[in-house]
Symmetry: C2
Subunit: 556 residues, 2 copies
Amino acid sequence: MSKKYTIGLDFGTLSGRAVLVDVQTGEELATATHNYSHGVMDKKLPNGKKLPLDWALQHPQDYIDVLSTAIPSVLKQSGVSPNDIIGVGVDFTACTVVPVKSDGTPLCFIDQYKEEPHSYVKLWKHHAAQDKANKLNEIAEQMGEEWLGRYGGKISSEWIFPKIWQVLDEAPHIYDEADYFIEASDWTVWQLTDVHTRNVCTAGFKAIWHKQEGYPDKSFFKSLDPRLENVVDGKLSIDITPIGQRAGEITEKAAKLTGLNAGTAVAIAHADAHVCFPAVKIDGPGKMLDIIGTSSCHLILSEEEQRVPGICGVVEDGIVPGYFGYEAGQNCVGDTFAWFVDNCVPVEYHEKAKSEGISIHEYLTQKAENLKAGENGLVALDWWNGNRSTLVDVDLTGMIVGLTIQTKAEDIYRALIESTAYGTRKIIETFRKNGVPVNEFFASGGIAQKNPLVMQIYADVIKMPVKVGGGSQGPALASAIFGAVAAGSERGGYDDVFVAGQAMGKLEDKVYYPNITNANVYDQLYREYTTLYHHFGIEYKQIMKRLKNIKIEQSK
Amino acid sequence: MSKKYTIGLDFGTLSGRAVLVDVQTGEELATATHNYSHGVMDKKLPNGKKLPLDWALQHPQDYIDVLSTAIPSVLKQSGVSPNDIIGVGVDFTACTVVPVKSDGTPLCFIDQYKEEPHSYVKLWKHHAAQDKANKLNEIAEQMGEEWLGRYGGKISSEWIFPKIWQVLDEAPHIYDEADYFIEASDWTVWQLTDVHTRNVCTAGFKAIWHKQEGYPDKSFFKSLDPRLENVVDGKLSIDITPIGQRAGEITEKAAKLTGLNAGTAVAIAHADAHVCFPAVKIDGPGKMLDIIGTSSCHLILSEEEQRVPGICGVVEDGIVPGYFGYEAGQNCVGDTFAWFVDNCVPVEYHEKAKSEGISIHEYLTQKAENLKAGENGLVALDWWNGNRSTLVDVDLTGMIVGLTIQTKAEDIYRALIESTAYGTRKIIETFRKNGVPVNEFFASGGIAQKNPLVMQIYADVIKMPVKVGGGSQGPALASAIFGAVAAGSERGGYDDVFVAGQAMGKLEDKVYYPNITNANVYDQLYREYTTLYHHFGIEYKQIMKRLKNIKIEQSK
């Protein structure tokens, strides 16, 4: 039998990529990235119409363009025949929501709606439905909704119901015209297979669905807004498919678009973080995976369903089949470092980096590496884009204390890295305190691959070895693994995701072990972080909210 | 009678300048600046010897060089004959302390001491004697020293006794070899006149001297350290001269150095902030002067001696004769803005400023001007170099809250400006609450002259009109005014400093009036500032101190 391959498709915030992978070895033969031509629309629509603060839209044509350019590209680059491609997996940012007609056509593709902001895709980081989320949480608490506990006591404005509710409230005709609101991941699978599926991962983590209990009751949605009473039956789907299944097969139309053979297996969609587990060879509970990119996502399996305050959620079968998958996260990690480099680095650093032929991140990292733990005298709160866990509050903002006129750019850069490590430690401690053991720590994602200083600081702060895995295309590789599982052993793939992961996943030889001297200093600094966390995040959280309100008022 | 002129000499942190002024009109005919060739020595001695954290030294040769270059330069530039120069006034940073032999020779001029850090001038912002200040304050409080109340309950590490004590402790042989510790201002007057005087301003504001009570008792100094028992008699002088007097006349030697005539009147030295009153035409109590430069200094006169917590001090005749002069201050104003520009501004801003042919400060100011009050969503604590008033704590550090990935450089720049305005408002409110009326507000110094945005924000935050005066060389002009008073009317000068100020001082026509809309927003933001001030400055001030301690420990 000839060698078999799968293709993993990973749709990120700014681009989508395809990776073509050897099913037996996990070797990546080719990769191709397509940058979304519309990118993130957070200032204006394609027609120039201005968008309000906190909006973030996307254009679904960009996703189609990934299918029509990146897949042919990896086929061509690798020289692999479509006959030997046995499966495709898709992962996507979430919760990223497309309003569509019953045949899957996005409303923004239709002339009469394309001037309307609400007809576009609401990207995961669209934060303009915060008031809806607040109201939803408030009513859920009043009504004693039991499911709140699964989501750390609060759901996020990034999730599907606040986003749908915002559409209903601000553009009821768009709400009416949309036959479905669907995750972009499931929509993409739909484009490939002509099968409308809904994956359990985003249903559970972003749409309050539970394997035994289903969605919240109609009476709950009615009490949000009478027009929402039938939102589940009318706009979503109650047919939820577990992760690890086959969604369908490539259609003739999709075959033309992508160059794949019709009939190729396509996996149920997955979220771009949650998908990664098998890519780092994690094979059971107690092993945390932190995917560190623009934001970060902390995932862990357990055999039990626990209530953990401030996490994003717990979903049975939501990460891999057979376990309760837990998610927590940090809104702003690489984004914070990028913000710093874009806004706060002196000219001469840029010049020196240029003359040394390295990136400014590399240059700053070199300088930050020369600092000892605590030598910067700074502690920051890592809330530049709100706090996802364990406070679940997008209105929180960044803070930095200890600044002096001796403070250098590298001091701040390191403090920002450290702050995200403290945030991760806070998440780990919260899991442990609430019955979810965290015994090992794996890191994946761009920053995990590229920045050893970040990984060393994480090891020192959390006081556990950090194992890096997943390669440079972790989610795409993971999707390729799920593609192999969708194909199944009868087509040359696998029937079990852990088995597939052990064969196809990647784990680096290098492990970052905690440096005890630094770890002791970070214990002290983490105490300061905790004090500030409590002050700004709980006791006096209104400070940040009032500042944000004044800012919104004065930005009008 | 031919026109008469005086020369004002102003010794700042990085340079000294001379201005030659018409005694009748205040017109500045010539000005010359000499940059100290040793600058601020905060990293190493001239021989390369490394200095510890928080040190800041100067070389007295730089002061001599100002006399020998800037005075001849203004004479030459103006073409004024030395015969028509009737007086010289000197102002200086304070507390800036020179250890000298009995003939005035600085120890660092002597070969055997010039390798020793403690033989050099300790600049006002030498902060390495903080532990001494802490201990001094603690003992003073235990002993119920009444004078503490005059200084807001605490003296600063910048003052003379902590600095002297540090010398004694770390280099007892230098302490022994020094016949005097003297303010650089009085030392400079000594170089010009061969008369060893001590001005009441720095004696009162920096050396705990009081017109009625003199210095603290020997028993107090003894309880600090038995070797300090006779510090006043042994190392200072109890002969204190009021402001507004003549110290002496230019000697033959000084005439050769400067090109002035021997016999020219020289005023008693003054501090570079306190000297400014007459330069902005202030003529009585209730009128606050804020001198805004790298740091800022708030001065006000009252007919009564009050106890005001957290101010720098109150000294009878210490600013002008006949009134109680009060001082408060902010450690870091222009320094903070400069820190920001040096460390935190993106490359493209520098490029755009360059292409527009303006300074980066001007460019940022333009961008910050386009923001409404509160639109940045930020509040900062203005403690980048500690807090002088009203917390008197150099170990406090800067803090900024409200940062997001949308935050731009101009947002932070404006927040830093606003933070210094809040700090000034806190000082004003503290004076008012404690029986010292503040009815008018005058601003002087480089930033007052150069940055209308800063002045407008100050007006909006303090809700009083801001009048700008003193010209571009406020302290130097003021010193020239005191030079005219030192000459007296018999030589063509004046006998009264207020009369001299009215004739020679400068007040701009433009007044910055509060914008009520902004003032209302700033009222809200000031409440947030006050909350943070209380949190980080009082209730949880140990956070900043612990961070600083870790930093010091880890910098070793």
